[in-house]
Structures are given as structure tokens and as C-alpha cells.
């Protein structure tokens, strides 16, 4: 049961750049050794924290994205917890979200495609009915306008 996870963690700001790189690399090798595939590693760099953590006001954010079993995540979390460098971490399972997004995107594309296909066919029968509908036409856009402004 492979799942896609996202791991965001904060490294102490006073840790050296090389040190962080080394740690990230270490985590990556450990993950791959545990049977996970690391899809993405993103270092955001130093950011101000929204609140103080262990007397630090800023921290370096690192984002991992990987595909793995639940047991791998457990191990990774244990490692992060044990590490002195890591202030805080957050694991989010994202495969379901990604699936949902993909589904919505597909539905949206389909709808727009259908609309595009219908559009050229629609004007011909619409024109005769458009003439009596004309007085209504100015009423239609009116409620739409404030929405557009908002």
C-alpha cells in the first residue's frame, strides 16, 4: 500500500547550511533504503516563524515529498523527533487530495471541452429566439456586474 506523503519540517536557524544539506541527504538515503521513492525535496530557506519554538523566532523549512508505506513514515518521524536540529515537523498524506484534484480537473476539462463543442452549434438556433429575448438581455447582465466587480 504505497501512499504519497508530504513532510514539512523546520530546522534550527543556527545550523550551518552544509549541516542541513548533509542532514537532508542523510534522510533521503534512509528513505530510499527503507523502500520509499523520494519525489521531491524543496528547501524554502529561512523564514520567520509565526510563533516562537524553543526560543527560536525563525527557522529553515524543508519539504519532502515521497511515496512509501506507513511504516516508513513512522520511522522517519522517529528520526525527526530524535534529531537535535529539527524544531518541528508535519506529515501530510496527499495521495487522496491529489486524486481528488485530478478528478476535478478532469471534470472541468471535460465540461469546458463540451462547452467548446456546443458553442459553435448553439448560435444558429439561438438567434431566432434571441430577438424576443432582447428586452430581457439588459436585465441579465445587471446582477452579473456587481459580482464581476467583487
Amino acid at each position: 500500500m504505497n501512499r504519497i506523503y508530504e513532510e514539512l519540517f523546520i530546522v534550527k536557524p543556527d545550523a550551518a547550511e552544509e549541516e542541513v544539506d548533509q542532514y537532508v541527504e542523510q534522510l533521503r538515503t534512509q528513505l530510499t533504503a527503507a523502500g520509499a521513492t523520494v519525489d521531491k525535496i524543496d528547501k524554502w530557506g529561512k523564514r520567520k516563524l509565526a510563533y516562537r519554538i524553543d526560543k527560536y523566532r525563525e527557522g529553515a523549512y524543508v519539504l519532502f515529498q515521497f511515496t512509501a508505506d506507513a511504516t516508513v513514515v513512522k520511522e522517519l518521524e522517529r528520526r525527526l523527533r530524535v534529531s537535535d536540529m529539527v524544531l518541528k515537523f508535519l506529515t501530510v498524506r496527499i495521495d487522496q487530495t491529489l486524486k481528488r484534484l485530478e478528478k476535478r480537473k478532469k471534470a472541468r476539462d471535460k465540461r469546458s471541452a463540451r462547452r467548446a463543442a456546443n458553442a459553435p452549434a448553439a448560435p444558429a438556433p439561438a438567434q431566432p429566439t434571441a430577438a424576443p429575448a432582447m428586452p430581457e438581455a439588459p436585465v441579465g447582465p445587471m446582477p452579473g456586474q456587481p459580482k464581476g466587480e467583487a
Partner: protein, 100 residues
């Protein structure tokens, strides 16, 4: 006829009150713009906890989540938004409570 007349004043008296209400509403007469869900309008599918800039718009000064009745976000999106804000708080992207 008399009975129906007797009956009518009540309904008639009810009607003016209804009318009064409308008048009162007119008296106040301020236009409340219909709120629309920003996520529905912009067709945002994903409300991500990492998008701090966007989330900031839905967090009050003190760090509270802005209620739906004020922001106008629809229920399904507010649910996702709440989740995202809570995750962001957890990883110090957003404050639990802003201090002055």
C-alpha cells in the same frame, strides 16, 4: 359580509405591518452586496496549507479563522480552508494567537 369584514381587518392589519417592515427595511436602506465564495469564483481546487499568502486573507488580525458569514466562503470550501489553516498553524506558518 360583516364576518368577512371582521376577518379582514386582521389580515389587513397584518398586511400593513408587513408593509411597515418593508418600509423599515427601505428606511435603513443600505445595500448589502451578495457575498460570493472566492474559491468558487476563482475555481480554486486546492486549498493548500503551504499557501500562506492566501490563508492570511482568511485569518483575522488576532489569528482567528474568519467565519463564513463574514468572508462569504461556501461551506465545502470553508471546511477545506479550516483544515489548511490548522495545518499551517501546526508548522508555524500561521499563528495560533497573534501577540502584540
Amino acid at each position: 359580509m360583516a364576518e368577512t369584514r371582521g376577518g379582514r381587518p386582521i389580515s389587513a392589519s397584518q398586511r400593513p405591518t408587513g408593509g411597515d417592515k418593508a418600509v423599515a427595511g427601505q428606511k435603513k436602506q443600505y445595500f448589502r452586496r451578495k457575498k460570493v465564495c472566492r474559491f468558487c469564483v476563482e475555481k480554486v481546487d486546492d486549498i493548500n496549507y503551504k499557501d500562506v499568502k492566501m490563508l492570511h486573507a482568511f485569518v483575522a488580525e488576532r489569528g482567528k479563522i474568519v467565519p463564513r458569514r463574514i468572508s462569504g466562503v461556501c461551506a465545502p470550501h470553508q471546511r477545506r480552508l479550516t483544515d489548511a489553516i490548522k495545518k499551517a498553524r501546526n508548522i508555524a506558518l500561521l499563528p495560533f494567537a497573534a501577540s502584540y
